[in-house]
């Protein structure tokens, strides 16, 4: 399934994290809800994601105290305060780095990163791509509202060209990032996209992400009713959305709406009416493909007009994780030396090299 020989087994994402015992009381949504008043704007898409996460965490079966949410800066980064788990609301863009240190130091934690389009893709772009390529065991929720909310409405690295904001009164000129394309290019092992208002889809994707061992990046299209209202309306709306969404299902042909399919055409993919498609050209989704090429091509179907938008899991492959391997090196060094270093071993270390003795 993967491109490398695995030096290590690649267990499930939450393996090693203590679970709620049979005899323990069942955890509920309430157990995961902190006493802090939620302070997003009314109608903000963040509420729906919070509710979905609070609702789904008990089902993961992990002990609450072994779950940690680390966030950066931005509206969505307030997320950890509202969850009755451990959390750190860190600084702008740095959550993936902090989470990497935490996840590597502590195998027994389920570590989540909550970030936004500005946090993850602008100021924290470097940490994000390196977390992805390293494949640290993290679940990253990237809330993409295509705008800076907390600083009151400047364009973001995912805003469409021509976006008019206070900082771009005659329109932004820079090409936006496609977060899914970026993640795939950064060697991510799990990349998915979902929508704040589709509770069922959101929950399914989050569960798969949590169970993935390695870095799972989930782009969540999230509406900001204050500064970028309706950014995703075309796909949220039941009627217009139906014709535009391509729900990615592993092993199935990729369909857009009810009567279109995605076909190969030259090096790229296009969308054609199903009746016009050569069956051999129809793209069959393969989340576990070793090469991310097809997943990348699917991510390129997006365009600002939302003519067709693939949703779901683009890629899900197994590759040894950074933290597992780092710990294995420490464990291996200990094992080959006959166990963890003792005081006597420390004394030997201090006495290493060329020594000489002065007698009294």
């Amino acid at each position: 399934m993967t491109a490398t020989d695995l030096p290590l087994p690649t267990p499930q994402g939450t393996q090693g994290v203590p679970r709620v015992g049979e005899e323990d009381p069942r955890q509920t949504k309430k157990d995961f809800t902190s006493d802090q008043e939620v302070r997003w704007c009314p109608g903000c898409g963040d509420y729906a994601v919070l509710a979905a996460v609070q609702g789904f965490l008990p089902d993961l079966g992990l002990r609450r105290e072994n779950i940690v949410f680390v966030s950066g800066i931005g509206c969505s980064s307030r997320f950890p305060y509202y969850l009755e788990t451990y959390g750190m609301h860190s600084i702008h863009g740095r959550a993936p780095a902090i989470a990497t240190g935490l996840a590597t130091a502590r195998e027994d934690l389920s570590v989540w990163v909550v970030t936004g389009d500005g946090d993850a893709l602008s100021i924290g772009g470097n940490h994000l791509i390196h977390a992805l390529r390293r494949n640290v065991n993290l679940t990253i929720l990237l809330f993409n509202n295509k705008i800076y909310g907390l600083t009151k409405g400047q364009y973001s690295p995912t805003s469409d060209v021509g976006t008019v904001t206070k900082s771009t009164p005659v329109g932004s000129v820079d090409q936006p990032f496609n977060p899914v394309s970026l993640a795939l290019g950064a060697e991510a092992t799990f990349v998915a996209r979902t929508l704040d208002s589709d509770r069922k889809h959101l929950t399914e994707v989050l569960r798969a992400a949590a169970e993935h061992r390695g870095t799972a990046l989930v782009e969540i299209y999230q509406n900001c009713p204050i500064f970028n209202d309706g950014a995703f309306q075309l796909i949220k709306d039941r009627d217009s959305g139906r014709a535009r969404l391509a729900h990615l299902v592993d092993g199935e042909p990729v369909r857009v709406g009810e009567d279109h399919v995605v076909v190969r055409s030259g090096g790229a993919l296009t969308v054609v009416p199903e009746t016009d498609a050569e069956p051999a050209d129809v793209v069959v989704h393969d989340v576990a493909a070793e090469e991310p090429t097809q997943a990348f091509a699917l991510s390129r179907l997006d365009d600002p007009s939302f003519a067709h938008v693939p949703m779901g899991i683009f890629r899900q492959v197994s590759r040894p994780t950074y933290d597992d391997q780092v710990r294995a090196q420490v464990d291996g060094a200990r094992a080959s030396a006959g166990g963890p270093a003792t005081d006597a071993d420390l004394a030997d270390l201090l006495h290493g090299g060329d020594t000489w003795t002065v007698t009294g």
Binding site: P80, I91, L102, A105, N126, H130, R334, L346, V358
Partner: protein, 640 residues
């Protein structure tokens, strides 16, 4: 064994100088090791260009290694070499100015070709034109001697030539009666897989040694008796090695894993290298994507209950500033090693400086106090690492350690401590709720402080019932909830400062060295300038001057009695390798009219020049009773 007369010396300073590719650092290291095993006290100063291979034969490409060894306590690598080994004209030209008349020059004549001479602007060879009359010059064809000695080896000419540093090492080892066994063992390990190269290097080493014995060029051999040292086991350590050993020792004694997040940077990378080899001791090293990632990883590990450490130099400290501020706000332990180098910006990557003091203290937004400490010698880096971990874990605070390039690469003998003699490090995590909520249920308040230290509890994820959220946004005292309340912010700012100030309660009083007990001038330093200042003090005293010396290892907070100590003297002189940063802090804090003595040449202070300056201070304060000053011309700038 030797037929030549043996002359006893009390101290020698040797400088090996050559092209960056000539292996001078290795040669110096080996000579140091041989010298250490003989029981001399010693101090070293490697000095090399930032370029890995600067253009061959040029002045910028010169790499040197200076070693001072003696039959008594050594404080510095020495101001002036007694012997210069110059492997090419550039090495001679770059170093001649530091060489007092009468000193010995051993030059590799093979490299004094017209082309090489021209590269550094010599019209004629200084070996022949009489311009070196005032020095004892031994011109030896070291390269061709080496090639000749290795004639029977199946190596290329280039490979043979490369062994010329061993030829030089052998000769110097003979001259100063150093044993070869250590170097032979070292070569055996190094060329484990290349027997031909091993034999060639051994042969070059021995040929150099034997050459000294047989040639008429060298009439006498020297020896330097062992220095009196306390009984014990010794080894030599560089500052970076000592720092790594200190950290691993702290990890052992605290029973916690240590996680180093680091990004390669000169002159700090050797700390990363050293710790990377100590996985067996529960050390995890993470080479991050950048400086910010490195400190973020360390802080994440600290949140998880490990000892989070990051190592860097000045430019990296600048990048880490925001994350260090986050550690101040979240009140988590974090150790930041800043191995300072010349600045600003890229500055002088391989040269030393002490100009990050104010950055360490104040280089963050907001009132963001952290503990700042500095080692005073290469091996003091071991103790300072333990101290950093003590402060960080006891007070749940970032600690910035200010080492520098001179300490990092310089080496000296180290008495290997017994583990039982080292301070203990007891770290306790919170395990249970620490308060009762309004509903009568037990609750956990993450910012309920220890009364004595003002530290907040360290409650690590995985502890049931203590789930809590921390972050950079201001938190309410005690409960740790987000708070924008003005009074709360005022209180928290003051609490964070008070917590750092309380560290002073655990610091020893300032140790003042004043043998006559009636000095009116105090010289006060910090960090790596200890050796040169102590050497200067020694010079002043041997010339009859009265001077007191004290040194700060704690820069924030200062020891509690520092102000009182300063006020005891008519004059306080503060030498620093910056433009007077500590002096400014002392003036501001204690309203004492501190005199600043500064030099930013990328090199440690010259003890002689410092001594002369101190003498002038004594004269000004005491009038004619101060005794004669030394005669050297000062080179360091003196700001008054």
């Amino acid at each position: 064994m030797s037929t030549k007369p043996l002359q006893r010396l009390d101290r020698v300073v040797i400088r090996f100088a050559g092209d960056s590719g000539d292996g001078m650092q290795l040669t110096g290291d080996r000579f140091t090791s041989e010298t250490a095993t003989l029981g001399n006290d010693l101090s070293t100063l490697p000095n090399f260009p930032a370029e890995i291979r600067a253009p061959q034969g040029t002045l910028p490409g010169v790499s040197s290694f200076q070693l001072h060894f003696a039959d008594h306590a050594v404080l510095t690598p020495g101001d002036h070499p007694d012997v210069l080994v110059a492997m090419n004209p550039a090495a001679l030209k770059a170093n001649l100015a530091d060489l007092p008349r009468g000193a010995t020059v051993i030059a590799n004549t093979d490299e004094f070709t017209r082309r090489n001479l021209a590269k550094v602007g010599y019209q004629a060879s200084p070996l022949d034109d009489g311009s070196l009359e005032s020095w004892h010059v031994h011109g030896l064809p070291l390269t061709s001697m080496t090639v000749e000695a290795l004639a029977d080896f199946g190596l290329t000419r280039k490979e043979k030539e490369r062994a010329k540093n061993m030829m030089a090492l052998g000769l110097l080892s003979w001259m100063y009666s150093r044993p070869l066994e250590g170097t032979e063992a070292f070569l055996r390990a190094k060329f484990d897989r290349a027997p031909e190269l091993l034999e060639a290097n051994l042969a070059a080493l021995r040929t150099g040694f034997n050459y000294g014995e047989t040639t008429e060029d060298f009439a006498v051999r020297f020896e330097v008796a062992p220095a009196p040292m306390a009984p014990g086991t010794y080894r030599t350590l560089t500052g970076n090695q000592a720092m790594a050993l200190g950290l691993v020792t702290a990890a052992h004694r605290s029973g916690l894993p240590l996680v180093l997040g680091s990004y390669p940077i000169t002159p700090a990378s050797d700390v990363l290298h050293a710790l990377s080899a100590l996985k067996r001791h529960g050390i995890t090293t993470l080479q991050a994507e950048d400086e910010i990632g490195a400190v973020g990883m360390a802080l994440g590990a600290s949140f998880g209950g490990a000892l989070g450490v990051t190592s860097t130099s000045g430019p990296g400290l600048a990048l880490k500033a925001e994350t260090i501020g986050l550690a101040v706000a979240t009140e988590l332990p974090l150790v930041v090693l800043d191995i300072q180098r010349g600045g600003p910006s890229t500055g002088l990557p391989t040269k030393t400086e002490q100009a990050d003091l104010l950055q360490a203290l104040h280089g963050r937004n907001g009132e963001s106090p952290v503990a700042v400490i500095a080692p005073q010698s290469p091996t003091d880096c071991f103790d300072i690492a333990l101290e950093a971990i003590r402060i960080a874990t006891t007070y749940r605070t970032p600690v910035i350690v200010l080492s520098d390039g001179y300490l990092a690469n310089g080496s000296e003998p180290w008495a290997v401590p017994e583990l039982d003699d080292l301070p203990g490090l007891d770290v306790t995590f919170a395990t249970a709720p620490n308060a009762t909520g309004e509903d009568g249920q037990p609750v956990f308040h993450p910012f309920l402080r220890d009364e004595q230290t003002l530290a907040r509890p360290w409650a690590v994820p995985g502890t049931a019932g203590l789930e809590h959220r921390i972050g950079g946004i201001e938190k309410a005292d005690v409960t740790g909830h987000i708070s924008y309340d003005p009074d709360n912010h005022d209180r928290m700012v003051r609490l964070r400062q008070a917590k750092i100030d309380r560290i002073a309660e655990t610091l020893p009083p300032v140790e003042v060295d004043d043998p006559t007990g009636d000095a009116r001038v105090l010289v006060l330093g910090w960090g790596s300038s200890y050796g040169p200042i102590a050497a200067a003090t020694r010079l002043v005293r041997s010339a009859g001057g009265r001077i007191a010396q004290a040194h700060l290892r704690h820069l924030n907070p200062f020891p509690a009695d520092l102000g009182e100590v300063l006020r005891r003297y008519d004059r306080v002189v503060v030498p620093e390798m910056n433009l007077g940063q500590l002096a400014m802090l002392l003036r501001a804090r204690y309203l004492v009219d501190v005199r600043s003595h500064t030099a930013v040449r990328g090199l440690p202070f010259s003890a002689a020049h410092l001594a002369e300056d101190l003498h002038r201070d004594i004269l000004e304060v005491e009038g004619d009773t101060a005794g004669p000053a030394t005669t050297d011309t000062p080179r360091e700038e003196v700001t008054r």
